[in-house]
């Protein structure tokens, strides 16, 4: 069984600069042993002290990672191609080059050793790997509101190495925010939430670019702001903004990760265009005053962490295209009974936005739609994202 083994550039000093080595073997372990026999020391590079393949090295048989096959017991046949790809050398793009002869789209830049270390608990998971970590780095996610929900979402996305995190927020930090809004601390009271958020996120992960949209999101700017992002997370604190963001995301074909909280309750879902939207779930907003806000009724601080973490998890799954997204399902969390239930959520054929005969084909006046006074200018109180 002669198989061709692709040797990554950092290891080629051992193989007399050969990019490909042809050896015999029935499975990956035998192939690696054969390369080691010809070029002593190679085995020490691909195995750790416990004779396991370390997390930063991926081995591919004809483009499939052996974690997804049978590990080093994966059998090989005559003519197969085996590629050894350390994360530091660029991961899958190298593997693609080695086995397909072309470079895939996307940022081919390698992860730095610092990144590999920082994200190692993610990278060692088969669902992430160096390729997934680069997808996260290339992802652009917009978070509407840097308050109760926006805080945990922004922090977990930044920690995970999502490359671009956009934030829409124009409020200032108030002492009463600190009971739940993780981005802001005591010394931040009086600062703009944007400044506080940027400082916190940079402290957590300096690799993340935080894009600042420090103005109320309105029908005039929503399309322009959202257009540049891959995914949008809703952490708004009022119905007008929720309908606005829903409509803009649908019109732009963006997936919206929705979450909301009040008292001891939380709800979360993912709206994928064509599979139901916020208007399908709640066709019209409540008249002002009928559903209280967190400021009026209160909210358990930790429920923002539960729902925000769920939203961050759904973004992570979307970017990596893994698991079953919370699409077509409304997750309900009751912190008092600690019950998690899911309800079916359908696209409503009568929906004025995403139904069979849409009447909402561009953004409307959401303050009028919700019967609420318009959002006020920066610095004023009462209209921001808690």
């Amino acid at each position: 069984m002669a198989v061709s083994v692709y040797i990554p550039s950092p290891f080629r000093r051992l193989t007399q600069n050969h990019e490909y080595v042809s050896v015999e073997g029935r499975n990956v372990a035998e192939v690696l042993a054969a390369v080691d026999q010809r070029y002593p020391g190679f085995g020490n590079l691909v195995y750790d002290r416990d004779r396991a393949i370390p997390a930063h090295i991926n081995i591919y048989v004809n483009n499939q990672e052996i974690h997804d096959l049978s590990g080093t017991d994966t059998t090989v046949a005559d003519g197969d191609q085996v590629a050894v790809i350390p994360a530091l050398a660029g991961g899958a793009p190298d593997a693609d080059r080695a086995t397909n002869g072309h470079t895939p789209a996307g940022n081919p830049a390698a992860l730095s050793p610092e990144e590999v270390m920082r994200y190692s608990r993610h990278i060692i998971m088969g669902q992430v790997g160096p390729t997934g970590q680069r997808k996260l780095r290339n992802a652009k996610v917009l978070i509407v509101g840097a308050g109760g929900l926006g805080s945990p979402v922004a922090i977990y996305l930044a920690l995970a190495g999502v490359g671009t995190v956009g934030i829409v927020e124009f409020d200032t930090v108030d002492l009463s925010n600190l009971q739940r809004q993780l981005l802001h601390q005591t010394e931040d009271v009086g600062k703009t939430k944007m400044q506080s958020a940027v400082e916190t996120l940079n402290a957590y992960n300096p690799h993340v670019t935080v894009r600042q949209h420090e103005a109320p999101i309105t029908s005039d700017n929503a399309m322009e702001i959202i257009r540049d992002y891959d995914y949008v997370v809703n952490g708004a604190d009022n119905f007008a903004t929720r309908y606005l963001v829903n409509d803009a995301c649908y019109l732009l074909g963006k997936t919206l990760v929705d979450g909301s909280i009040l008292l001891f309750d939380g709800q979360a879902t993912v709206f994928k265009p064509g599979q139901g939207c916020y208007r399908c779930l709640y066709p019209t907003p409540p008249p002002p005053g009928l559903v209280p806000s967190c400021a009026e009724a209160g909210v358990l601080g930790a429920i923002t962490g539960i729902i925000g973490s769920i939203q961050a998890t759904e973004v992570f799954k979307q970017v990596l295209d893994i698991g079953q997204p919370l699409v077509g399902r409304l997750l309900l969390v009751d912190a008092l009974t600690m019950e998690f239930r899911t309800m079916k959520l359908r696209r409503d054929p009568e929906c004025p936005l995403c139904g069979d005969h849409p009447t909402v084909t561009e953004l409307i006046d959401y303050d009028q739609f919700c019967g609420s006074p318009p959002l006020v200018a920066p610095g004023a109180t009462g209209a921001a994202h808690h």
């Binding site: 109760g148 708004a236 604190d237 119905f239 909301s260 008292l263 009751d334 008092l336 239930r341």
Partner: protein
């Protein structure tokens, strides 16, 4: 038909502070009447003056929105779970 009713915090105060309770009815409409009898004032939390369910309040029979079943005439059977959920806007 005795069914188990789940409500959220916003509605909880209209039903003596309970999160779940049993009530009777062979349809959703009858169930709401029964809850109103037990907890006067409850109906105004979820319906307008004309007896129409507010469009920001969803009622689920088990895990299905009653809008996609029979609306207020959706029939209930013993042991069903009915959830009454208003929209939340907090973030």
């Amino acid at each position: 038909m005795s069914v188990q009713v789940h409500v959220t915090s916003v509605i909880q105060k209209a039903v003596d502070g309970q999160r779940e309770f049993a009530a009777d009815g062979s349809t959703v409409a009858e169930l709401i009447e029964d809850i109103e009898r037990r907890y006067p004032g409850f109906r105004s939390q979820i319906m307008d003056g004309a007896g129409q369910l507010h469009r920001f309040v969803n009622i689920y029979l088990n895990d299905e929105d009653i809008r996609y079943l029979g609306g207020a005439e959706t029939t209930l059977k013993d042991g069903d779970q009915v959830s009454i959920l208003p929209a939340l806007a907090g973030g």
